[in-house]
Amino acid sequence: MSLIKQLSALMQHLGQGGLNFFQRLGRGHLLLLQLLTGLLPSLLRPRLIIYQIYMVGVLSLIIIIVSGLFVGMVLALQGYNTLVDFGAEESLGTVVALTLVRELGPVVAALLFAGRAGSALTAEIGLMKATEQLSAMEMMAVDPIRRVLLPRFIAGFISLPMLAVIFSAMGVLGGYFIGVGLLGVDEGAYWSQMQGKVEFGHDIVNGIIKSVAFAFVAVWIAIFEGYDAQPTSEGVSRATTRTVVHTSLAVLGLDFILTALMFGD
């Protein structure tokens, strides 16, 4: 009897979990639909978007620049140690650049964006909900989706691809400092090999397409989690954690799919 009860409770728990998951998925897609339908009117208020670009993009610059530099430096150190065994250390620039523009630039920039800007977006929107600021806007006949969420959505969507490009550029510079400055790789070889092997259309554009896709997912998750958060301090805290975890998983999963489609052949 006890076993039947336990099994029944387990089934109930699983069923409830499944229902909650699909309900949240549905709410997330409904919010996305509302965001997309309000896109054009929101573009007519560029001041709100520019302010949010500053908040989510410009304020993320430091972490992107510093991380990009260090990732490039590590890539140069590791790459050199492998390439030198084959006498191919002059290909270091190509290795660093391709790794960055194809993979690490879009992926790491998106992960850093989730931690720095995504979590801030969720916490800010969640707190506005908890303190009834969004309700107050609704009662003032101001749509919080258009006034609060959309400028942040557009700003994040614009900012992340630019941050990814900056990350890759800083990584290439970091690789240069270590490879050429410290390990003695020929400067001309570093740049010319990179120019010769990195294709704009195949490598750089595909990297940018990846970061555009990551930006869409990262900002959507951050905004939805904030808007759907339980209006309590614990609810906002949980939502912020979910933003970072879900965005990281979504970015890594999406990266595999996009890489397979772009570079799989």
Binding site: E132, A136, M139, A141
Partner: protein, 270 residues
């Protein structure tokens, strides 16, 4: 109160439940145009919920709310927002936007809904802030205000667009006696001179009775008493007596439903 053409808000057979707990079990309320209607009752009877239902932020399980003949919960989003431009809700917490100053909070609805020049917006905002005695606090941030001051700023914001009717959620809570008198007088003036319709949710019996034209007393999810303040004060009904005189004994229990204290204290968990 009979329904007639001078009724602005008509609540009929309203049912609402939250997390399975019934809040309203069929309430009927009529708010007369140009009058001050008070909604009173013990804590947890859903007075704030009623204001959110009237504002269209919550949906009833059954029943209807008509504002000027329009069913609030059957309106399209666009028409609901158009209707909300005619109303205002003063939140219990104030609900000020925390990242902008007091001035910008009051200017917010003006900037969102009008194309007025900044100079005129400035004059309007300062006039509204003067009315609530906080013109000098225009540059402060919401975090620098006390609870009572925040609610007065919210009141200035609520009247910024000169709405047709205002719902006040606990407007007197947290006010010192001087501010209480000013807010009381302001609500009365707005009502009489501009012909506004007001709904006040409050626990402050003396203040509310002084300005209300009609009072609804809510308890147990129903309207248990209604009438002019003098009628309710003189009423022999146990509900009115207990609430209007603040008596501990009566039909409204002080304690939230629970097993007896002895049972709880002597209960040993394994």
């Amino acid at each position: 109160m009979k329904t007639s053409s001078d009724t602005l808000i008509q609540v009929t057979d309203l049912h609402f439940a939250r997390s399975g707990r019934p809040i309203f079990a069929g309430i009927d309320i009529n708010v007369r145009r140009g009058a001050i209607t008070a909604i009173m009752g013990p804590s947890g009877t859903g007075k704030t919920t009623l204001l959110k239902l009237i504002g269209g932020q919550l949906h009833p399980a059954k029943g209807s709310i008509l504002i000027d003949g329009e069913n609030v919960h059957r309106l399209s989003r666009r028409r609901l927002y158009r209707l909300r431009r005619r109303m205002s809700l003063l939140f219990q917490s104030g609900a000020l936007l925390t990242d902008i100053s007091v001035f910008d909070n009051v200017a917010f609805p003006l900037r969102e809904h009008t194309d007025l020049p900044e100079s005129l917006i400035r004059d309007l905002v300062l006039t509204k802030l003067e009315a609530v005695g906080l013109r000098g606090a225009a540059k402060l941030m919401p975090a620098e205000l006390s609870g009572g001051m925040a609610r007065r700023v919210a009141l200035a914001r609520a009247i910024a667009l000169d709405p047709e009717f205002i719902m006040y959620d606990e407007p007197f809570a947290g006010q010192d006696p001087i501010s209480m008198g000013v807010v009381l007088e302001l609500i009365r003036k707005l009502n009489k001179s501009l012909g506004l319709t007001s709904i006040i949710v409050s626990h402050d019996i003396k203040e509310t009775s002084a300005i209300a034209d009609y009072i609804y007393l809510l308890a147990d999810g129903k309207v248990v008493e209604e009438g002019a303040p003098a009628e309710l004060t003189a009423s022999a009904s146990p509900w009115s007596k207990q609430f209007m005189q603040g008596l501990p004994d009566g039909p409204v229990p002080f304690h939230y439903p629970a097993p007896s204290l002895e049972e709880d204290l002597l209960h040993v968990t394994n």
